[in-house]
């Protein structure tokens, strides 16, 4: 019952928030509830058997018998940390939203909790239709968060976000239905269970896109690639980020993008191993282009939030590359980078939100000399910057290094291009840092009558857990990697005949 509890508790929380009588205490209640959820999710961590590559803590009930659709939950080394990332970030986001969200507070918190259920469901569901429900469900609260509490061009951004993601999802649904049909052909009875999907042999012919496995591969990949986002279907992301309120940006960058990358590991690669291997060149190229393009374009953005949004395109490029090298280093690095990006980019958006609340501007050129005015804010921003540019002893380094190591092992040619991201990443972040924090005081900073206030205790409390994670993950990666090792090992060694067993 543990996974079901974690999955549906937030929905109950959403109801509690909606019927809560006092407006004043809603933030506290929501924060407390999200902490409860986080603590319960720690039990998963405690009970998780790291030595096993099997699907653990499963819950399986028939939902729609005729089509073999099941209520089917389970966790393994691939999804474990993403579940914890979700439950960990939610209280932080709620605590951070105390100033930035000032209208329709009830609705906001309810949306956050619904979103949490949707994201957890995406990571935990092992039945394709069940999964699809959560995948689509996640769009709705996100749509509201941007659409109601967003910036001036929020309607444009939400529609763009919606069009992009919908196109992908529709194709995926068709592919899922087709896979269900294949299970019926293979075994006589229809099933939407991922475990049954794994068993189906899907014919593959190289050299052409027009074979079944490649078509299904692309149907799934497109949906996930848009979510990641992979270059060139990334353009919805900067707009969504810029228009989203701080909590929306954090949850979007922190968790929602990982739904895309996670699904490549859970669905695409094990289901379509031949096609994945055959088309690896395409995804490696797109990933590397994303790394470089994202960094170059980030460099010239005048808006600090857009800069970080494009940096996400670059960082997500690394993750894509790491997955499509199919070796231990690359896949471990990718999984790690998913967490890193959640922590660092999440923290960057939080920090940008904090400064935006003070100045109501995100234009880099209007800042300058902030380090002399807000020293504590500067220290936090700097530490997160280090994590973002992957300085050793921070989390970012471990992920980036392992991905590049894996890429070199599998496809050395690409690494010579990808490694430029190491330089460009430092360039765009430090250049931005210099313009915002160093030099003479800019127009937003120099008003001496109304000096900017440094971080409050609440804001420090928001950031400290993230900074702790930055160093913890950088100094003791084994604490995290040990739990993913068996599953990654299983995926790498059995990629072409992948199966998952159920741990009793």
């Amino acid at each position: 019952m543990l996974l079901s509890t974690i999955l549906f508790l937030p929905l109950i929380f959403a109801l509690i928030v909606l019927i809560w009588p006092q407006d004043k205490t809603i933030r506290h209640v929501a924060f407390g509830l999200s902490i409860v959820e986080f603590i319960i999710s720690l039990i998963v961590l405690k009970d998780f058997d790291a030595s096993s590559a099997q699907l653990q803590m499963i819950e399986k009930h028939m939902w729609i018998e005729r089509f073999g659709i099941q209520y089917f939950l389970g966790v393994d080394g691939i999804s474990l940390w993403l579940v914890l990332l979700t439950t960990f970030l939610t209280p932080i986001i709620i605590l951070a939203s105390w100033n930035s969200i000032d209208t329709k507070i009830k609705g906001f918190h309810a949306a956050m909790f619904v979103l949490q259920t949707a994201m957890l469901g995406t990571f935990l569901a092992i039945d394709a239709i069940f999964f699809y429900v959560f995948w689509e469900l996640s769009l709705i609260p996100m749509y509201f968060i941007v659409g109601i509490w967003g910036g001036a061009r929020r309607i444009y951004a939400t529609i763009k976000f919606f069009i992009f993601t919908m196109i992908g999802s529709v194709l995926m649904l068709v592919a899922i239905i087709y896979l269900m049909y294949l299970t019926q052909q293979a075994s006589g009875h229809m099933s939407a269970s991922l475990l049954e999907f794994y068993k189906v042999k899907i014919p593959f012919v190289g050299g052409s896109i027009l074979n079944l496995q490649s078509l299904l591969f692309f149907a799934f990949s497109l949906a996930f690639a848009i979510k990641v986002p992979v270059w060139p279907v990334h353009t919805w992301l900067p707009d969504a980020h810029v228009e989203a309120p701080t909590p929306g940006s954090v949850i979007l960058a922190g968790v929602m993008l990982k739904m895309g990358t996670y699904c490549f590991l859970r669905w695409v690669i094990p289901l379509f191993p031949d096609a994945a291997e055959y088309w690896a060149w395409l995804f490696l190229s797109l990933g590397v282009i994303g790394i470089i393009y994202g960094a170059l374009v980030a460099m010239i953005q005048p808006d600090i939030k857009k800069l970080v949004a494009y940096s996400s395109v670059s960082h997500m490029g690394y993750i894509i590359v790491g997955m499509f090298v199919f070796n231990h280093f690359g896949i471990t690095g990718s999984l790690y980078q998913m967490l890193n990006h959640g922590v660092s980019t999440g923290a960057l958006f939080l920090l940008i939100g904090m400064i935006y609340e003070r100045t109501h501007s995100r234009e880099i050129s209007k800042y300058g000399g902030l380090a002399g005015v807000l020293p504590i804010f500067t220290i936090f921003f700097f530490i997160i910057t280090l994590s973002s540019i992957a300085v050793p002893m921070t989390n970012g380094f471990i992920g980036e290094f392992l991905i590049l190591l894996g890429l070199h092992k599998a496809q050395p040619v690409y690494v010579y291009f990808a490694v430029t991201g190491v330089v460009l990443g430092a360039a765009y972040m430090l250049w931005m840092f210099k313009r915002v924090f160093f030099g003479e005081k800019g127009e937003l900073v120099k008003d001496e009558k109304h000096p900017l206030k440094d971080l409050s205790v609440r804001e420090i409390a928001v950031l400290v857990p993230l900074v702790v994670l930055v160093f913890w993950m950088g100094l003791f990666p084994n604490h995290f990697l040990d739990l993913t090792k068996s599953s990654v090992n299983h995926l790498v060694t059995n990629k072409n005949k992948y199966y998952l067993e159920i741990k009793e």
């Binding site: 729609i64 005729r66 089509f67 239709i129 429900v133 689509e136 469900l137 709705i140 749509y143 509201f144 659409g147 529609i159 763009k160 069009i163 992009f164 649904l173 239905i177 060139p232 279907v233 353009t235 393009y293 170059l296 374009v297 460099m299 010239i300 070796n327 231990h328 280093f329 471990t332 380090a371 020293p375 300085v391 050793p392 002893m393 471990i398 290094f401 392992l402 590049l404 190591l405 070199h408 092992k409 050395p412 690494v415 010579y416 490694v419 190491v422 330089v423 430092a426 360039a427 430090l430 250049w431 210099k434 160093f438 030099g439 003479e440 003791f476 990666p477 084994n478 990697l481 090992n489």
Partner: protein, 643 residues
């Protein structure tokens, strides 16, 4: 005491110092924060002394102290420990880092006394020492890389220490990004070597190194070592990545002494020496290193002749001297490279601190045209700077003579060397003597050009003590490595350093017995060259100050080119950085704004054009949208169920 405890104290003491001063960063008391920081490094120095004493007590072949604290990361076959080891090479480094480091910390207390950010300054300085120790002690390339990037980070923070000055902040950024170019290559080097050896552990790689040289340019070891060397050109400021070091002088002067002269910038040389069994079997890499080193030595020295800022002269001098170290390791004389690294740490740290003392006395004036005759006001600074001067221009028996002479001799004698390299080295030596003498004359000797408003004075004791200690080391520091040819004729004085390093340095293949007559002759030539050019410089800048200007005017275009640093910065901006920024703008406009988004619009227009139905749906009413999504999901599910 237990070795792992000592090692832990050695490494963590500066980190603790950083944390204490970091937490109380707003506190403006220089004595207290400086005291904490200096004590932290001094404790490290004492632990190093004990550890090195233990090392000396071991039999020569078994000299090694290895301590593994915990496993850092393990993925499949890739395992890296947080492990550190001291051998003959790293022993020298930790003594230099913590010894010279303590002196520079002490000096800083006086130098930074009135700065508001003094506590922050000491925190950064301690953090630097911590990272530098990780760099030199790390038992794998990856642990080394942790320190390698860490010192770069501290360098960034300290160069841009006075961040409200835009130029200084820019200099810090330039240093970090230029270093990142090298670091990217360092990463590639690690990947190639890991693919070859299946490990990044330095001792294991050294043991696995083949015995025969690799002839191909594309051989794994050649490629790997070449990438590592590119990494070294970044950190150690060699062509083509040296451009950040002169700008790095924006930082406080003791930082220039510690980071940008004595320790961090020598990391590249150290890395090559630590991996000498790999480099020696990659003759192509070695050739590249030697050529780049020799060229940098001459190139930077020539710029040094034309500079007017006291710290810029010393900065180009550092680039040039680092060139000599690379020339040494490039011809296989790893011991000579380490030797020069050590003596250079003494005399260059001395001269940077001396220049700090001068700048302090001149109320932040750095232009040597506004100095002159300071000898009389600052006797101790002058005296110690004098020792640094004779050491760097290679006058026997001062420290620089022995190390530089050994490099020049080996660049000629080694089978990996060539007479051409020797000629470059000798020209560089003559130039060094010239610009250093010029600096001496314009700063301390001749007529005073000090403005009336400035009253130079000797620095306080706290600052002169480090100068005196380093002055003594600049005199005697070279005596540990007296070459056989001189030692023999003076009655069998042993070459202690060579003896010490012998077990961990691979011999140069096919090295013939040295001809003593040749060695004496070349030594005579290079010393006379240096002496003559020192005299010319003295004559120019003290006796007839108008001559240099006349000469400069007569070769105006060349002089301008050199004094503008060969316009290399302008070249990099014109051909790389600006095109990159403008190109990125165009790329963004072209791909994101005008192409992909246009397609999205076309699609949505098609949908709109397809029927008024859709348009009617786009009401902007969110509840309605939500309802539609809900309906959509239901319809989708029903389709499945109805099939």
């Amino acid at each position: 005491m237990d070795h792992s405890l000592l090692m832990a104290i050695l490494l963590l003491s500066p980190l603790v110092g950083f944390l204490i001063n970091g937490i109380r960063y707003k506190n403006p008391t220089a004595n207290l924060s400086g005291g904490i920081a200096t004590a932290a490094v001094a404790i490290s120095f004492i632990s190093s002394l004990i550890l090195v004493a233990d090392l000396i007590g071991m039999p020569a072949e078994a000299r090694k102290i290895h301590v593994s604290f915990f496993q850092w990361m393990a993925v499949d076959s890739f395992k890296i420990n947080a492990a550190f080891y001291i051998d003959q090479i790293s022993a020298i480094m930790i003594l230099v880092i913590t010894g010279v480091g303590s002196l520079i910390h002490l000096f800083s207390i006086g130098y930074m006394h009135h700065d508001k950010g003094v506590t922050k300054y000491f925190a950064y300085l301690n953090l630097f020492v911590f990272n530098m120790l990780i760099l030199v002690l790390g038992d794998s390339l990856l642990t080394m890389f942790v320190g390698w990037e860490g010192v770069g980070l501290c360098s960034y923070l300290l160069i841009g220490f006075w961040f409200s000055d835009k130029e200084k902040a820019a200099a810090g950024m330039k240093a970090f990004i230029t270093n990142r170019v090298g670091d990217a290559a360092f990463l590639l080097g690690m990947f190639v070597l890991f693919a070859t050896f299946g490990t990044l552990n330095i001792q294991e790689m050294n043991a696995l190194a083949p015995t025969t040289a690799e002839a191909s340019w594309l051989g794994a070891i050649t490629l790997g070592t070449l990438f590592l060397f590119i990494g070294a050109t970044g950190k150690s400021a060699q062509i083509p990545l040296y451009v950040w070091l002169p700008d790095a002088m924006a930082g406080p002067t003791p930082v220039s002494a510690l980071i940008h002269a004595a320790t961090m910038v020598t990391a590249g040389v150290y890395m090559i020496v630590r991996l000498n069994p790999l480099f020696i079997v990659a003759p192509n890499t070695m050739m590249v290193i030697a050529i780049i080193g020799a060229l940098t030595a001459v190139f930077a020295a020539s710029i040094g002749i034309t500079q007017w800022d006291i710290k810029k002269v010393l900065a180009y001098s550092t680039v040039s001297q680092l060139g000599y170290m690379f020339l040494a390791v490039g011809v296989g004389a790893f011991g000579a490279g380490m030797f020069h690294l050590m003596t250079h740490a003494f005399f260059k740290a001395l001269m940077f601190l001396g220049s700090g003392s001068v700048i302090h006395a001149m109320h932040e004036e750095q232009d040597i045209r506004k100095m002159g005759g300071l000898k009389k006001y600052m006797p101790i600074t002058h005296m110690t700077f004098f020792f640094g001067w004779v050491a760097i221009i290679g006058i026997p028996p001062f420290a620089g003579f022995f190390s530089k002479d050994e490099i020049l001799w080996m660049s000629f004698h080694s089978p990996l060397g060539s007479p051409a390299l020797w000629v470059l080295g000798a020209i560089g030596a003559a130039m060094t003597a010239f610009y250093m003498t010029r600096l001496m004359c314009l700063t301390f000797w001749g007529k005073s050009r000090v403005p009336k408003s400035v009253h130079p004075h000797e620095s306080p004791t706290l600052m002169t003590i480090p100068l005196i200690v380093l002055g003594i080391l600049s005199v005697v520091g070279g005596w540990v490595g007296i070459p056989e040819v001189i030692g023999h004729s003076l009655g069998d004085i042993p070459n202690l350093l060579e003896h010490w390093l012998h077990p961990v340095i691979k011999p140069i293949p096919n090295l013939t017995e040295a001809e003593h007559s040749m060695e004496w002759m070349l030594m005579g030539v290079s010393v006379s060259l240096a002496t003559i050019s020192a005299f010319i410089a003295y004559h120019f800048y003290v006796k007839s100050p108008e001559t240099p200007e006349k000469i400069a005017n007569s070769i105006k275009p060349l002089y301008n080119l050199i004094s503008k640093k060969y316009l290399v910065d302008e070249l990099y901006f014109g051909t790389i950085i600006n095109p990159l920024i403008n190109g990125s703008k165009r790329l963004w406009m072209f791909i994101d704004v005008n192409f992909i988004d246009k397609i999205t619009y076309v699609i949505s227009d098609l949908v709109r054009g397809g029927g008024g139905v859709v348009r009617a749906l786009q009401t902007g009413n969110l509840q309605q949208y939500a309802m539609l999504i809900g309906i959509g999901i239901v319809i989708a599910l029903s389709i499945i169920i109805m099939r």
